[in-house]
Amino acid sequence: MTIDSPVRPNLARDSWNVLTREMKPVLRDPFSLIFSLLQPLVFLGLFAPLLIGGSGEPAGETLRWFVPGILVMLVLFGTGATGSNLQYEMSTGSHERTLVAPLARSSLLIGRALKEVAPIVIQALLIVIIALPFGFAIDPAGLLIGLVLLAVFGVGLGSLSYTLALAAKDREWLFWGVQQTLIFPLMILSGMLLPLDQGPEWMRVVASVNPVNWIVQAERALLSGDLANMTVVWGWLSGLAVAVVGLTVGMRAMRRSN
């Protein structure tokens, strides 16, 4: 009674299946979701008052600048950790099993990265609600486009994280060492939490080639409803570039890893 299933890899279906599998433990154990919702609240609650106090501008204006940065930061740290989960799966046979399954290789990268992006959608909605009473009304269309941009960027960054995990193999310290060394400069040089306007010239030069910087700026424009702003185009180009590079490098690493 052999079911001779002539299944063929299909990127969209496989990515969806990988994503839903990855989501199962999260949904089974909602505590992790609750904590992930607390994270942006901590940043909003502890960081925003300092910025509001320091800038002397109305709270709504400061949040308009600050909230998009928080969303990008959540993606940066969430998808940047994708590889860590993978390292755990590689130390067992779980990752190997997915490699023998008839899945499109890139679906493993995309599905895993999207799993890190998924909670961010819920976090974003929470932030929207909190920002409202402070006078920052987020543009719904801009938010939608902004979240898709974050997903594209997240897939690219997640793939790079995945690649790093494949290269580091079972050396967890190496993964985290490299990851932290890269992620903090990327964050600080994007002006997501502290403005770079008053920084030295060299920092602004480096920031101008930092794709994260462009994504932060695009998100600021999008969430404010300024959809036609040129920075949105730059943000999308940066996000797509990260995705293309990430997937290319990730696929190659996966082919070589065995």
Binding site: P9, R21, K24, P25, R28, E89, S91, G93, V100
Partner: protein
């Protein structure tokens, strides 16, 4: 299609480069396996068993050579191969944070099964592999034997015509091992699945496999059923004890006349290796009696696959696995194994 071998390899080889030195892990692997066979790759650690399996399951590309698995070329159509095989690796297949039933359902979706089909099949396997008691537990909460049964269930989820098992029972206690084998044999009986496994457990290959391919240093050095391998490569070992050295020496003449094989003498005891040893034993005792030589003790020990391996390579499986013996130099004959070592030359 049904008469085509389910596995067909031609000169499959894998060379790894370790610190710029090429190391041949598998050399010129050429064999066919028919549908429904239960085949075991037997060999010490590092013999190339897992590497062979990883090539056949498309996990690594061969350096040279070709293979068709369930009608699909491993190089040209790896996706076609993957869709038609089940693979149970050496380590736990389930993700530790996932629940048992969830993993089975996800696996079904990975193989393109519909949701109702996945549910039906998952429940079927939960039932037949005794996973019912912990289907909603996470993988990390399972015992070693339970994890292994889940691995098998995951490998069988899409009812593949061919199941690869890489050292399925390593690390299990004897009871779990026997239990696991009951499941494998039962599933095979029901579905006619071709089972291809690697093992370094002799008794496992001996007891369950219909066909044993002995692997050493990346090559297949023997390929037959266990009984034939033992009969042709390593006969029964018969030992006889006598009251003193003089009687033993006299008996040696008689034994040599009867069997025409090498007789090893160790003081007052004699040993020889012979096929059909169980029938030969009483004949020898009667002949010695007739010649006025009383036999004080007589034992006949059937050969093991370890004897086969020793006969083929001059090393025991354990020695080979530990790499205790330098490659060029076969193990020197010890007093307990003189006969089988001598048989090596007779091959």
């Amino acid at each position: 299609m049904t008469h085509e071998p389910i596995i067909e390899t031609e000169g499959l080889s894998k060379v790894f480069t370790v610190k710029k030195v090429p190391i041949a892990a598998v050399s010129d692997l050429t064999f066919t396996a028919a549908r429904g066979e239960l085949v075991a790759f037997l060999g010490p650690n590092g013999a190339g068993k897992s590497t062979s399996l990883r090539m056949l399951t498309t996990l690594i590309p061969p350096t040279s050579g070709t293979a068709r698995v369930v009608g699909h070329d491993i190089g040209r159509d790896p996706a076609g191969v993957r869709a038609h095989i089940g693979y149970v690796g050496q380590l736990t297949s389930g993700s530790f944070a996932q629940r048992v039933r969830d993993e089975l359902l996800s696996q079904g979706r990975f193989y393109g099964m519909s949701r109702p089909d996945s549910i039906r099949r998952a429940d079927e396997l939960i039932e037949s592999l005794d996973l019912g008691g912990f289907a909603t537990r996470t993988v990390q909460q399972l015992s070693g034997g339970q994890k292994r049964r889940l691995d098998i269930a995951l490998g069988l989820m899409h009812a593949p015509p061919l199941l690869f098992l890489d050292e399925p029972s390593t690390g299990l206690d004897p009871q779990s091992r026997a239990n696991l084998w009951d499941h494998i044999l039962e599933l095979r009986r029901q579905h006619g699945t071709t089972v291809f496994l690697t093992t370094h457990y002799l008794e496992e290959a001996d007891r369950y496999a219909e066909r044993v391919m002995v692997m050493d240093k990346g090559r297949i050095i023997a390929d037959d059923d266990a009984a034939n391998l033992k009969a042709t490569l390593a006969g029964d070992v018969l030992t006889f004890g006598f009251a003193d050295l003089e009687l033993a020496t006299r008996a040696r003449e008689v034994l040599h006349r009867l069997t025409r094989t090498e007789i090893a003498q160790d003081g007052d005891s004699l040993a020889l290796s012979a096929q059909d040893g169980d029938r030969l034993l009483p004949v020898i005792v009667r002949e010695l009696d007739a010649a006025g030589i009383p036999v004080r003790s007589a034992t006949g020990v059937p050969p093991t696959l370890d004897d086969v391996f020793l006969a083929l390579t001059g090393r025991t499986l354990r020695e080979a696995g530990e790499g205790a013996v330098p490659d060029a130099e076969p193990a020197p004959s010890t007093t307990t194994e003189p006969l089988t070592s001598q048989k090596t030359g007779a091959l």
